[in-house]
C-alpha cells in the first residue's frame, strides 16, 4: 500500500490512452496492423490498471480515495483534482472494459483510416475516465465536453449514409446543453469561490437559496438530460446510433450517455437537494414518458439498430427514475442499471454490427433464421435479449426491479406505469429476437453465414459472463457504492 500512496494511478488511467493517441498520431498510417495492436495493448493495459485500481479500492472508506491535486491550471481556486468513490470506480472499470472490446470488433469492419479511428477511441476513453475521476467542476466539464469532438468525428467520418446530419445533431444538441452547464459552473464558482466538488457539496446545500438552486438545477438538467437522454431531448440518440459505426454505438450507449446519469448523481443531487426534491415529479413524469413512449416507438421500428437505440432511451428512464426516488433501493437500482445497461446495450449493438458486417443491412425484414447458421451467436444474443427484458438472473432484472421498488416508495403511480414499460420491453425485445434469430431463412445471404469468429466470441462471451454474474450476485457491485449512496440518502432523510 505504501507504494500505492504516491503512485498517481488515476492520472495514469486518464493519460495513458491520451498519450497513446498522441504516439499513434506520429505513426505512419499505412502500418494499420501495428496501429491496431498498439491501441489494443494500450487499452488492455488501461483495463488491467483499472482492475488494479478496483482491487485496491477500500470499500469501507467513505469519501474520495486516490486523491491527486495539482494546482497548475490558473491563479484561481481551479485545479487539477481527481479522486474516486465507489460509484466512479465502477464506471471507470466499465469504460476501460468496453474500450478494448470496441477496438477488437472494429478490426474487420473499419477499413478506411483505421489509425484515426483508433486515435478517436483512445481519446474518448481518456476523456471519459477523466470525467469520472474529476473532483473539480471545471475539469469535469472539460473532459465531459472534450469527449464530444472525437465522437463527432467517429459518427461523421465512419458513419452511414446520413452521417453528417446525425453528427451535427449530436454535437449541437449536446453543446447547447453543456454550455448552460458552463454558465452554472461559473455562477457557482463566483458564488462559492471554488469549483472543488467536495467543498461545493458541503457549502451549497446549506447556504444556497432555493430560488438560485432551481435555476442552477435547470442549467445542469439541460446538460445531463440531453446526455442521458431523457424525453423530450432524446431525438439525437436514434439518429446518432443508426449512423454511427458499431464501435461508436457501443461507446455512446455504453459509456457516454452514462455521463449524464453520473452527472445527476454527482452534482444535481448533493448540490441542490431542495431543487432536486422540487423537480423530482418532473423527472418522474419524464422518465415514465421515456419508458413507455420509447418502448412503443421501439415496437414499430423496422431498423434493428434504431430499435435498440430506443430501448436505450427506455432503459435510461429507469436510471433517472431510480436516481430521483432518493432512497437506497432507487439509487442502488439506478447505478446497477447504469452498469448493466452499459454492458447489455453495448452487446446488443455489437450483435447488430455482427449481422450488419455479414448482411450489409439493418432492416429486420431482411433477417431471419440466423440461429440456424450461427448457434453460438444466437445463444449469446439470447442472454443479452433476456437481460434487456429484465429476466431474473440477469443484471437487467436487478437494476429495473430495484429502481421500480425505489420509485414505488416515492410515487406509486410512477412505479406502476414504469412496470408497465417492462412489459412493453419484453414485447419488442422478444419479438425482435424471434424475427431475427428464429423464423424462416428468407434472405439467401444468410445461408452462407459462418458462426462468430474468435474476436467476436471473446467480446460477446466476456460480456455475457458479466451480465449473468451481476444478475446472480449484484452485491459484487452494490458493496462498492454502499457508502456513497448512504451519504446521499442522508442529505434527503433530514428534509
Amino acid at each position: 500500500m505504501n507504494l500505492l500512496e504516491n503512485f498517481p494511478i488515476l492520472s495514469f488511467l486518464i493519460f495513458l490512452p491520451i498519450i497513446s493517441a498522441i504516439i499513434l498520431l506520429l505513426v505512419d498510417s499505412k502500418k494499420s496492423l501495428f496501429c491496431y495492436y498498439f491501441t489494443l495493448s494500450s487499452s488492455i493495459a488501461t483495463f488491467f490498471l483499472s482492475l488494479f485500481l478496483l482491487s485496491n479500492f477500500d470499500k469501507s472508506q467513505s469519501g474520495f480515495q486516490f486523491i491527486e491535486i495539482w494546482n497548475f491550471i490558473s491563479a484561481h481556486d481551479i485545479k487539477y483534482f481527481v479522486g474516486i468513490d465507489g460509484i466512479s470506480v465502477l464506471m471507470i472499470v466499465l469504460t476501460a472494459f468496453l474500450t478494448p472490446i470496441c477496438i477488437i470488433i472494429s478490426k474487420n469492419s473499419i477499413k478506411d483510416r483505421l489509425k484515426e479511428f483508433l486515435i478517436c477511441f483512445l481519446l474518448i476513453e481518456g476523456f471519459v475516465i477523466g470525467a469520472f475521476c474529476a473532483l473539480d467542476l471545471l475539469f469535469f466539464y472539460i473532459f465531459f465536453e472534450a469527449a464530444l469532438i472525437p465522437m463527432f468525428l467517429v459518427i461523421g467520418i465512419w458513419g452511414g449514409e446520413n452521417k453528417i446530419y446525425a453528427s451535427y445533431k449530436f454535437f449541437l444538441y449536446t453543446i447547447l446543453g453543456s454550455l448552460l452547464f458552463l454558465i452554472a459552473i461559473i455562477f457557482l464558482y463566483l458564488y462559492a469561490g471554488t469549483t472543488d466538488i467536495t467543498k461545493l457539496s458541503e457549502i451549497l446545500p446549506k447556504y444556497l437559496p432555493i430560488s438560485y438552486q432551481k435555476w442552477l438545477w435547470l442549467a445542469l438538467f439541460a446538460s445531463f438530460a440531453v446526455k442521458v437522454p431523457m424525453f423530450p431531448f432524446h431525438t439525437w440518440l436514434p439518429d446518432a446510433h443508426v449512423q454511427a459505426p458499431t464501435a461508436g454505438s457501443v461507446m455512446l450507449a455504453g459509456i457516454l450517455i452514462k455521463l449524464g446519469a453520473y452527472g445527476f448523481i454527482r452534482f444535481s443531487l448533493p448540490f441542490f437537494p431542495d431543487a432536486s426534491l422540487y423537480f423530482a415529479p418532473l423527472i418522474f413524469s419524464l422518465s415514465v414518458i421515456a419508458i413507455i413512449y420509447a418502448s412503443l416507438i421501439a415496437l414499430m421500428q423496422e431498423d434493428m439498430k434504431k430499435m435498440i437505440a430506443y430501448s436505450s432511451v427506455a432503459h435510461m428512464g429507469f436510471v433517472t427514475m431510480g436516481i430521483f426516488s432518493f432512497n437506497r433501493q432507487g439509487l442502488d437500482g439506478a447505478i446497477i442499471q447504469m452498469i448493466s445497461h452499459g454492458i447489455v446495450s453495448a452487446a446488443l449493438f455489437i450483435c447488430v454490427g455482427i449481422i450488419y458486417d455479414r448482411l450489409k443491412t439493418k432492416k429486420i425484414k431482411e433477417m431471419g433464421g440466423i440461429a440456424e447458421k450461427m448457434p453460438n451467436f444466437a445463444f449469446l444474443a439470447m442472454i443479452f435479449t433476456m437481460a434487456s427484458v429484465g429476466l431474473p438472473g440477469t443484471s437487467g432484472f436487478v437494476g429495473e426491479f430495484l429502481s421500480i421498488i425505489g420509485a414505488f416508495q416515492a410515487s406509486k403511480i410512477t412505479a406502476i406505469l414504469a412496470a408497465l414499460g417492462v412489459i412493453f420491453g419484453a414485447c419488442y425485445m422478444l419479438w425482435l429476437y424471434k424475427r431475427v434469430w428464429f423464423s424462416e431463412i428468407t434472405n439467401s445471404k444468410i445461408k452462407s453465414f459462418q458462426d462468430l469468429d474468435r474476436s467476436e466470441f471473446i467480446a460477446l462471451g466476456s460480456m455475457s459472463i458479466l451480465v449473468i454474474l451481476f444478475g446472480i450476485t449484484p452485491n459484487l457491485l452494490a458493496d462498492f457504492f454502499f457508502l456513497p449512496v448512504e451519504s446521499l440518502i442522508k442529505i434527503y432523510n433530514i428534509r
Binding site: S29, E145, L153, I164, S167, I186
Partner: protein, 493 residues
C-alpha cells in the same frame, strides 16, 4: 527626455526606412540584403523591448506626459513583435512573387506596426490620433496593394473612405473633449473626471460625454464591431491573403489593445457607456454568427467570425473591472494566435490547375477560397487539416483548447459583474457559431476530395500553423503564468 524608452519603435522605424533605402540602392547587387535587414530590425526591436522591460518596471511618462511606458505596454509590444514576425514568415512567397514592391510592402507592415505600438503607449489623444492615422494610412495602401485585382482596389478605396470618416469622427470627439475640458492628456483627464464617483458624474460637461461617445464609436469602427463592421468582410476578401493575415493578426490585436489602453484611463461608467458596450457586443454576436453561417468564402467567413470574437472582447470590457480588462487582453492574445493559424492558412492555398498564388485573379481566388475547395483535405494533407480543425474547434470554444479558456474567463468576468442574462445570450450565440466552425471540420474530414486546391509546400508557413495549433492544445499547461502576467501588470481600475 528618456528617448531610450521609445527604442523599440525607433528601431522599427529605422528598419522600415533602411529597407526602403537598401531596396533603392542595393537590390540589384545583393537581393538577400533586404531579408536580412528586416529580420535584423525585428531582432533589435525585441532586444530593445527586453532591455526596457528589465530596466523600467515602473510606469514612466515621457514627452510631456504624452507617452507612457510600463511593463504592461512592453509585454504587449513583445507580443506584437511575435505576431509581426509570424506574418513576415508567411509573406516569403508573396514577397518573391511581388518582388518589385516587396520593400514597400514590408516597410508598410513595419509602419503600421509602429503606429499600433505608439497607440498602445499613447497617454494623450493627440498621440493616439497620430498613431492611429500612421497605422490607418499604411493600411489603406496595404489593402489596395494587390494591384491587378479589382476587388483589392475596391477594398482599398472602401476602407479609405470609411476609415477616414471614422478618423474624422474620432478627431471631432477629441476636439469636443478638448473644448470642454481644456486638455487632451489622459492623466489630466482622469484627474478631472475621477473614476466611480457619482458626484462628478453630474458635473461632467455634456461636450465631454459626446466627445467620448464619438471617440468610442470611432474605435468600434476600427476594431470592426457591429454595426460598424461593414468594411471588414469586403476588405478581408479583397486584399491579398498576406495582407488579410496582417489585418486580422497584428492590426486587430494592436487596435484592440489600444482601445483597452484608452479605456483603462477612464471609468466611463459615469456615462452609462458600459451599456453601449453590451449592445454593441450583442449586435456583434448577431452579425458574427448569422453573417458567417451563409458565407461560402473562407475569407469572408473568417471576417464574420472575427466580428463575433470582438463581441466577446467588448463584453469583457463592459464589466469595467480589472479582471474584465485582463480577460479582454487574454482573449485578444488567444484570438491573435488562433488567427495566425486560420488566416495564415490562406497563404498556403494554391490553385491546383495553375499551381501558383492567385491573389491577382478575382474569379480564381473566389474559387479557391470557397470553403468547398477544402473538402477531403484530411486525406490529401492530414497535418494541415488537423491543425485547421484544432483552430476551428478552438474558435468554437471547445475544451480543452485555448478558445474555451478565453471564453470561460470572459464569461466569468461578465457574470461576476452581474450580467448573467447577457452571458447566457453569449453562450447561445456561440452554439450558433460552433455550427459554422464545425462545417469547416466537416468539409475537411467528412467530404470526399475534389482537388481544387493544393497546399504550398512551404516549411515556414506550415510550421507556424502547426505551432499555432499546438499552442491551442497545450495552453492548459502554461495558462497560469500567462494570466498572472496580464493581471499583475494590468493597472488597477
Amino acid at each position: 527626455m528618456n528617448l531610450e524608452l521609445l527604442l523599440p519603435e525607433i528601431v522599427l522605424l529605422c528598419g522600415a526606412i533602411s529597407i526602403l533605402m537598401l531596396d533603392v540602392f542595393l537590390r540589384k547587387k545583393i537581393p538577400a540584403i533586404s531579408h536580412i535587414s528586416h529580420l535584423l530590425s525585428l531582432l533589435l526591436c525585441a532586444a530593445a523591448l527586453v532591455i526596457i522591460s528589465e530596466n523600467f518596471t515602473l510606469e514612466t511618462l515621457i514627452f510631456n506626459n504624452m507617452i507612457k511606458v510600463n511593463f504592461f505596454t512592453s509585454y504587449i509590444k513583445a507580443f506584437i513583435i511575435v505576431t509581426l514576425t509570424s506574418v513576415l514568415l508567411f509573406s516569403v512567397s508573396f514577397v518573391l512573387i511581388e518582388s518589385k514592391i516587396s520593400a514597400e510592402f514590408i516597410a508598410l507592415l513595419f509602419l503600421a506596426t509602429i503606429g499600433g505600438m505608439l497607440m498602445i503607449s499613447a497617454n494623450s489623444f493627440l498621440v493616439f490620433y497620430l498613431a492611429l492615422e500612421l497605422q490607418a494610412l499604411s493600411l489603406y495602401v496595404l489593402a489596395a496593394l494587390n494591384r491587378k485585382s479589382k476587388k483589392s482596389a475596391e477594398s482599398g478605396i472602401k476602407y479609405f473612405i470609411l476609415g477616414s470618416l471614422a478618423s474624422a469622427i474620432f478627431l471631432f470627439g477629441v476636439s469636443l473633449i478638448y473644448g470642454y475640458s481644456g486638455t487632451v492628456n489622459f492623466s489630466a483627464l482622469s484627474e478631472l473626471y475621477p473614476k466611480t464617483s457619482s458626484e462628478i458624474m453630474k458635473n461632467v460637461p455634456i461636450g465631454v460625454m459626446v466627445g467620448f461617445i464619438l471617440v468610442i464609436t470611432a474605435m468600434f469602427f476600427k476594431i470592426a464591431a457591429a454595426p460598424f463592421h461593414m468594411w471588414s468582410p469586403d476588405v478581408y476578401e479583397g486584399s491579398a491573403p498576406i495582407v488579410t493575415t496582417f489585418f486580422a493578426v497584428v492590426v486587430k490585436f494592436t487596435v484592440t489593445l489600444a482601445f483597452i489602453n484608452l479605456l483603462i484611463n477612464f471609468d466611463i461608467r459615469w456615462l452609462g457607456l458600459n451599456k453601449i458596450f453590451i449592445v454593441t457586443a450583442l449586435l456583434s454576436f448577431i452579425v458574427g454568427s448569422f453573417g458567417a453561417i451563409f458565407q461560402t468564402n473562407f475569407k469572408r467567413l473568417l471576417a464574420y467570425s472575427s466580428i463575433g470574437h470582438i463581441g466577446f472582447i467588448l463584453l469583457s470590457l463592459s464589466s469595467f473591472s480589472k479582471y474584465g480588462f485582463s480577460y479582454a487582453v487574454f482573449y485578444s492574445m488567444i484570438y491573435a494566435i488562433i488567427s495566425i493559424g486560420t488566416f495564415g492558412f490562406l497563404n498556403i492555398i494554391l490553385c491546383k490547375n495553375s499551381n501558383r498564388h492567385n491573389h491577382e485573379d478575382d474569379n480564381e481566388s473566389g474559387q479557391i477560397y470557397d470553403i468547398k475547395s477544402f473538402s477531403g483535405l484530411s486525406k490529401t494533407n492530414p497535418k494541415m487539416a488537423f491543425s485547421l480543425a484544432v483552430l476551428m474547434l478552438s474558435s468554437a470554444g471547445i475544451p480543452p483548447l485555448a478558445g474555451f479558456f478565453s471564453k470561460f474567463y470572459v464569461l466569468s468576468a461578465i457574470i461576476s459583474s452581474g450580467f448573467l442574462y447577457i452571458a447566457i445570450i453569449a453562450v447561445l450565440f456561440s452554439v450558433i457559431s460552433a455550427y459554422y466552425y464545425l462545417r469547416i471540420v466537416k468539409i475537411m474530414y467528412f467530404d470526399k476530395p475534389n482537388n481544387v486546391i493544393i497546399l504550398e509546400n512551404n516549411f515556414n508557413s506550415k510550421l507556424i500553423i502547426m505551432i499555432a495549433a499546438l499552442f491551442n492544445i497545450s495552453l492548459i499547461l502554461f495558462m497560469k503564468p500567462m494570466i498572472a502576467a496580464i493581471t499583475n501588470f494590468m493597472p488597477a481600475l
